[in-house]
Amino acid sequence: MASAVESLPILGNHPTDQVRACDTTTLPVCLTAQKFIKLHAVAAVVFLLIGGIAALTLGLTRWPAVHLLDAQWYYRLLTLHGLNMLIFWILNFEIAVLYFASTVLLNTRLASKSAAWVGLVMMTVGAIMVDAAIFGGKSDVLMTSYVPLKASPWFYLGIILVAVGTLVGVINYFATIYIAKRDQTYKGSVPLVVFGATAAAIIAVVTLLHGAVVMIPTLLWSMGIIENIDPAWYRITWWGLGHMSQQVNVCAMVSIWYLLGTLTVGSKPLNQAVCRGAFVLYILFINVASAHHLLVDPGTGSVWKIWNTSYAMYLAVLASMIHGFTVPASIEVAMRKKGFNRGLFGWLANAPWSNPGFSGFFLSLVIFGFGGGITGVTLGTQQINIMAHNTLRIPGHFHVTVVGGTTLAFMAITYYIVPLIFQKDFYAKALCRIQPYLFGGGITLMALGMSFAGSYGVPRRHWDIEFTGGLFATGFDAGAHVMLGIMGVGAVIAFLGLLLYCLLVVAAVFFGRPVEGKPMEAWNEEPRGQIDAEEVDEHKTPGTLVIVFVFLTAFAVYYFANWMWLSDLWEVR
């Protein structure tokens, strides 16, 4: 499959006054798309900050030695945190990514400016409505809003607005790739990053349809128009929204990994067909994994549960493992070609670790793969889930997927979006360089603390695990408290990383030095090694192979350890 970017006609289908050539990459930038990329990115960062402030208070509440908030505010801010992070921050950033991928990489104009406005306004008004409903005090239902917990109708209306607004953005994306094809603004197949973004957009459609099916009746129920919503029906349908949206994140994140590989070390996908095939596996099979949230629910049987969380879903796990190999392998090939051909890991040791785009991307890959992937497959196994369900192991898992993985990848790409799209320079470059380590390190520490505390049985979504003032002495032993302390320290460090990111981005976007008319200042010197690049065999990636075997060993050990714990707990003679 030919790379489309190489063969772009210069003007695409842009009206002449609505396009500029990027001073760094020479790619054409549609000015309308640029405006909406900026607006969605700014909205995303605002919601990240709101969710981040809530995160700090939650971390300090779940740390028993501090126990900051009272019960009501713990649940209120937990609701706020879940929605602002998982929905508002992530979705706004993803729409920015979709607009970028479709217009810049396919050399086309954005299909509809009006639709982009409608989407943005609906998403923003909806999110403000939800946050106001939460602070209004009548919507302490957590982000899942499981019925029969009832929130104010504004809460549900806000979520519907955000979902429909996002759908409008996604439809605008599809319309954009349609006009690009119609106007032949590119030749051959779309570039891999656009293919991955399309996978994300497809998954977003099915996600948002589930959202509409579950949220509209729930809104009517909260208004007293419908009398009853079946809780089991609600849970199945809600997770069609709640979990499928995480798969949008996975596709967006993997696409960003490929993009950052190219931007930071000039890597190329090793094999286009294999990488695309992996995205197709996501499109077809990843969404059924939503069933793993319902593994201890009555109502559905084991066949439905095991088919959806194991047999079918493992095809999507295979896809993740393919990307988990091809992404670092493409970096290895690129670095070896630059002359870092010594030993197994010379390429990795000499990678541009001081470039926050690279460090954020590679940390995201490692944290997501080793942390999120291994725990996800294990916890999603029906038998093992019975030990882990509703314990802190679950937030321990998803803070290394959607936070250490997706959020960190989004942060990493920001170090390119700001100079290339906002055309502004960052201040305090030294702080930019340490930010991914601070955030990635903090989140990893927090997730480890959560996971081990959860292994002691510490529940998630629980304000006071000591049941202070209860009739019977209860609580957890010292080991669990140590783990909760580690979680708290990790939460503080991650919050500092998040705050630093927000401050650096705001300073650059609103007060940064304009860099229009000149190429972006590189984050690092071009890495140059000693050995002649010609010697590199594109198909030999021994370093990555070693990493893969370390990964598979860690996976096997963790998986079997969990079965062993299960057999300890539940002895079968």
Binding site: V205, V206, I283, F285, N287, V288, G299, T300, W304
Partner: protein, 51 residues
Amino acid sequence: MSSKEPDGKKPLQKLMDNPWLLLVLGIVIPTLSYTVWGWIELWLVPPAALP
């Protein structure tokens, strides 16, 4: 061994180059396997015999 169509594209590549077909498959497969099947299972649960 080549399974190329007359336009020179292999079937898998044709699928990959067709976002609309991927969109349909991406909606239909999870909706049937997860959602509709799950709803049917719930629907088949007999009502509880509570007093």
